[in-house]
């Protein structure tokens, strides 16, 4: 639990304009102040002050960057591999395919589990979104969206609705109905509106808000009932491909990864970018928090997955192998955080030992790229969605 973010003052009167609003904690000439996002933007767009020039600003930028790196280096008093020496080695895993969900007519792009641990929703390139009971293999609900490439889908915490979005630049919420004859499209609610494709969406702790990431480089928090934009998050310089909400009791931060090779951590209340990591050599396809909320992992086109420690503010592990050349498109942790499952573009899934940095197991079976892997809420199974039109449940 990142205590720092927890106790930061994020709501109150702005030190600049005095209005009560969500606050960003910033420093002006080494003095800590709390500004509302509007005042911060005004400050940034004020242009050059007296005595400054574009070159001097750039120089300041470089020296600040260097100083940040020095601060980070001071804290690396030990490496993860050293700490992991005291942990016992994992016994070999025997993971098999337990279910194959067939029914999509085209590439399956995304999936999400329901909190009841057996249902899941999946979306595909032909615009279809299906809700399955994966345990019995029954298809319980189906919706067809007017757009193709439904890149993101999410199940609501209550289990009563699903959200999905993609090339239509929107994210819509569909309340689920027990009536088999009802067309879910009639109750559809258009919530998010972006200026480019929606790459990821997730509900927060309730059914009332969704968080989306988009190809227009921003993330946004929306109120489902009114469709109102509650907060937007700017900072990425290219498409944002993925996001994940922190699992801790605070639930106030989330991490996003994008095509600018950066993984950014945001405070949901104020919209402030509080941490940023630029370690990958290519696009970041997926980011996922460690179960404790103090770390996260990312998967990238450079064929590596990386592990970042949020409290020490640095990257602590890289999961790679010479024989793995194809990009990783998705990652998820097992319940204890010991295993990291990563899906790759060479049709395989690799299970890594998070602490020791070695590969524990490789899962074969898909006949095309793996687009998404997700561990079920109680950790009993792993679901993988693939471009071969199927989903597999592994255990």
């Amino acid at each position: 639990m990142c205590d720092q973010t927890f106790v930061a003052i994020t709501f109150g009167p702005c030190d600049c304009c005095g209005k009560a609003s969500p606050l960003m904690n910033i420093y002006i000439k080494s003095e800590a102040t709390n500004y509302c996002s509007f005042c911060v933007e005004v400050m940034a767009t004020q242009g050059l002050q007296a005595g400054e020039s574009a070159a001097s600003l750039k120089k300041e930028s470089d020296s600040l960057k260097k100083k940040l790196e020095e601060e980070r280096a001071k804290l690396s008093d030990i490496e993860l591999s050293q700490v992991a020496e005291k942990i016992e080695v994992l016994a070999p895993l025997s993971i098999k395919t337990r279910r194959v969900l067939k029914g999509h007519g085209n590439k399956v792009l995304c999936m999400d589990w329901c909190k009841d641990k057996r249902r899941l929703v999946s979306s595909s390139q032909d615009g279809k979104v299906i809700v399955w009971d994966a345990f019995t293999l029954n298809k319980e609900h189906g919706v067809t969206l007017p757009c193709t490439w439904v890149l993101a889908c999410a199940y609501a915490p209550s289990g009563c609705a699903v959200a999905c979005g993609g090339l239509d630049n929107k994210c819509s919420v569909f309340p689920l109905s027990l009536d088999k004859n009802e067309n879910l499209n009639t109750k559809k609610k258009s919530v998010a509106m972006h200026t480019n494709y929606v790459s990821g969406c997730t509900f927060t702790s309730s059914d009332m808000q969704i968080l989306t990431s988009s190809g227009d480089g921003t993330c946004a928090l929306w109120d489902v009932e009114s469709g109102q934009l509650l907060q937007s998050f700017h900072g990425h310089t290219a498409d944002v491909l993925s996001l994940d909400l922190a699992p801790s009791e605070t639930g106030n931060t989330f991490v996003s990864g994008g095509c600018d090779r950066k993984a950014n951590v945001w405070d949901m209340r104020s919209g402030q970018n509080i941490q940023s990591f630029e370690c990958h050599e290519s696009d970041i396809n997926c980011v996922k928090y460690y179960p404790s909320g103090d770390a996260f992992a990312s998967a990238s086109d450079d064929a590596t997955c990386r592990f970042y420690d949020l409290r020490a503010d640095r990257e602590v592990a890289v999961y790679q192998k010479d024989s793995i050349i194809f990009g990783a498109s998705t990652v998820d942790f097992s319940l204890s955080g010991r295993l990291l499952f990563a899906g790759y573009n060479d049709y395989t899934i690799n299970a890594w030992d998070v602490l020791k940095g070695t590969r524990v197991s490789a899962l074969f079976g898909h006949e095309n790229r793996v687009s998404r892997v997700r561990v079920s809420p109680d950790g009993t199974a792993l679901c993988s969605a693939s471009w071969d039109n199927t989903l597999r449940i592994w255990s």
Partner: protein
């Protein structure tokens, strides 16, 4: 508009063919709704493919007879597999996967079944693709190039196009109609130039070109792996500086501390992770029996594992609604009728729950919820007055003038920290928790025979649909609210929220 002159030298192909192509290109940034290419792997692939073609240490090639002529440098699938196995020293499945990638991306093309892009571990014949046709980021397989290719094949022999190619051709004829004359002219030129080559060269080139287009315009609609995109790079330096400043000043923790905490987490949860330790009575996905789920609902007697998990952190205890119920039982037993400084333990949890509902509620419900919370918890003399420091109280009350979902953040954090550092530990030491632990169940592990497993698979239980569960819970909440104290925040909350 740019006119591009491309000339290619093929050092690795034994019969060098230099091609001079002129293509008029419209230089527009390709930022449309295309799925972005993932091409970072190509550099690494190319270096490996070059190694594979080394005359001494690469894959062994031979010649293939085709009617009168002979095609040089043909390789077999199993030789490729053997070379990769030797180089990478890994499992057969991985070698197969890697080999198939080489074919799928167009570095090696099959001679016999040219539309199936798979590497077969037998004597199937393949050839290395000429570097001119390798997938790169430098030039895109444009529609006009494809149109020229299809037109050329049509000129050579009418009716030679396959169904999907015919469909493409008609479509291109429609939308490239404005430059169709140019396309036909280019196709004719290329056809004539082709006729002037000698037969073996022509056959080789035709194969290479055909393989290239199978990869770039595959028969089934797969995405094309070669497209480019320009990143948008315009951050104001000032915003960056603001970010760096706060990032530097942010307090951080030494790696030894944080990494130690991460490993401690893994150790604590080790036995609860179904991938690492068996779940009792059995993993539903493995035995098709859902006892593991039905005995872990919000019913009376929880299992030992579940009760143990509540002790890991206040977050675990509160996230599990059964645990939260137990916590409430403890609070009532321990602190009801006690002096105010102890009664606060009771109201703290209620306040925290109410603040959560405010934070995650609908925008329209803010004002009414904020009002209720003020009356119940914060007003002087309120029935469930929470005891927080004066400054926080002042700020919170002032903020409630214009209610916002985060107006209670400071107060909620204060209350949560109190619960985490004090109340939670009292709970763990309390008779209530110890009783719950004592009475917790320890289900015996299932031991199904193969026949029983078959039975289970036939009779998988349907479970209850989440919508039904939710409806039932809402009814329970309403009943509980009606039965308890007159001013109950939860009842008001669920009434407000039940506008569905």
């Amino acid at each position: 508009m740019r006119i591009c002159l491309r000339k290619v030298d093929l050092p690795l192909s034994p019969a060098p063919i230099s091609i001079c192509r002129m293509t008029i290109r419209t230089a527009r940034p390709n930022r449309g709704q295309h799925f972005r290419p993932r091409t970072h792997c190509l550099n690494k692939l190319e270096s490996i493919v070059v190694e594979m073609q080394d005359p001494k240490s690469g894959v062994k090639g031979s010649e293939q007879k085709l009617n009168v002529s002979t095609i040089p440098h043909v390789i077999t699938g199993k030789d490729v597999i053997a070379w990769i196995t030797n180089k990478m020293k890994t499992t057969p499945e991985e070698v197969q996967a890697f080999g198939t990638m080489l074919v799928a991306y167009g570095y090696i093309y099959p001679l016999q079944n040219h539309k199936k892009l798979v590497l077969c571990n037998d004597s199937s014949l393949y050839r290395f693709q000429t570097p001119y046709f390798w997938p790169t980021q430098k030039w895109v397989a444009e529609d006009s190039d494809y149109a020229i290719y299809l037109a050329k094949r049509n000129i050579r022999k009418k009716g030679m196009l396959e169904a999907y190619e015919q469909a493409h051709y008609s479509h291109l004829h429609d939308w490239l109609n404005h430059k169709w004359d140019f396309i036909v002219m280019q196709a004719t030129e290329q056809y004539k130039a082709g006729k002037e080559r000698n037969k073996p060269d022509r056959v080789v080139f035709d194969c290479q070109e055909r393989a290239y287009w199978i990869v770039s315009r595959p028969p089934v609609s797969e995405h094309c792996c070669v497209k480019s995109n320009d990143p948008n790079e315009s951050i104001t330096t000032i915003s960056t500086n603001i970010f760096y400043q706060q990032a530097i000043m942010r307090s951080k923790v030494k790696s030894s501390v944080s990494l130690g905490a991460l490993t401690k987490y893994v150790t604590t949860y080790k036995n609860h992770d179904p991938f690492l330790a068996p779940c009792l009575p059995s993993n539903p996905w493995q035995t098709d029996h859902d006892a593991y789920w039905t005995c872990n609902t919000r019913i009376d007697v929880p299992t030992k594992m579940r009760v143990e998990r509540w002790s890991f952190s206040l977050f675990e205890l509160l996230s599990d609604l059964r645990g939260r119920d137990d916590f409430k039982v403890f609070l009532k037993k321990e602190f009801s009728g006690m002096p105010p400084h102890l009664m606060r333990h009771l109201s703290n949890l209620a306040f925290w729950e109410a603040a959560e509902e405010l934070k995650w509620g609908t925008a329209s419900s803010m004002t009414s919820k904020a009002e209720t919370i003020f009356k119940t918890f914060l007003a002087p003399g309120a029935p469930r007055w929470i005891n927080i420091d004066g400054r926080t109280m002042g700020l919170t009350v002032k903020g409630l003038d214009h209610p916002h979902r985060y107006v209670l953040e400071a107060a909620q954090t204060h209350v949560f920290l109190l619960m985490k550092k004090d109340t939670f530990f009292r709970y763990l030491k309390s008779p209530v928790y110890k009783d719950t632990q004592k009475n917790a169940l320890s289900p015996a592990p299932h031991n199904f025979s193969p026949a029983q497993l078959e039975q289970n698979a036939q009779n998988r239980s349907l479970g209850v649909h989440p919508v039904i569960v939710w409806q039932q819970e809402e009814e329970e909440k309403a009943k509980a609210a009606a039965a308890s104290a007159p001013v109950d925040v939860k009842a008001m909350m669920s009434k407000i929220d039940r506008k569905k």
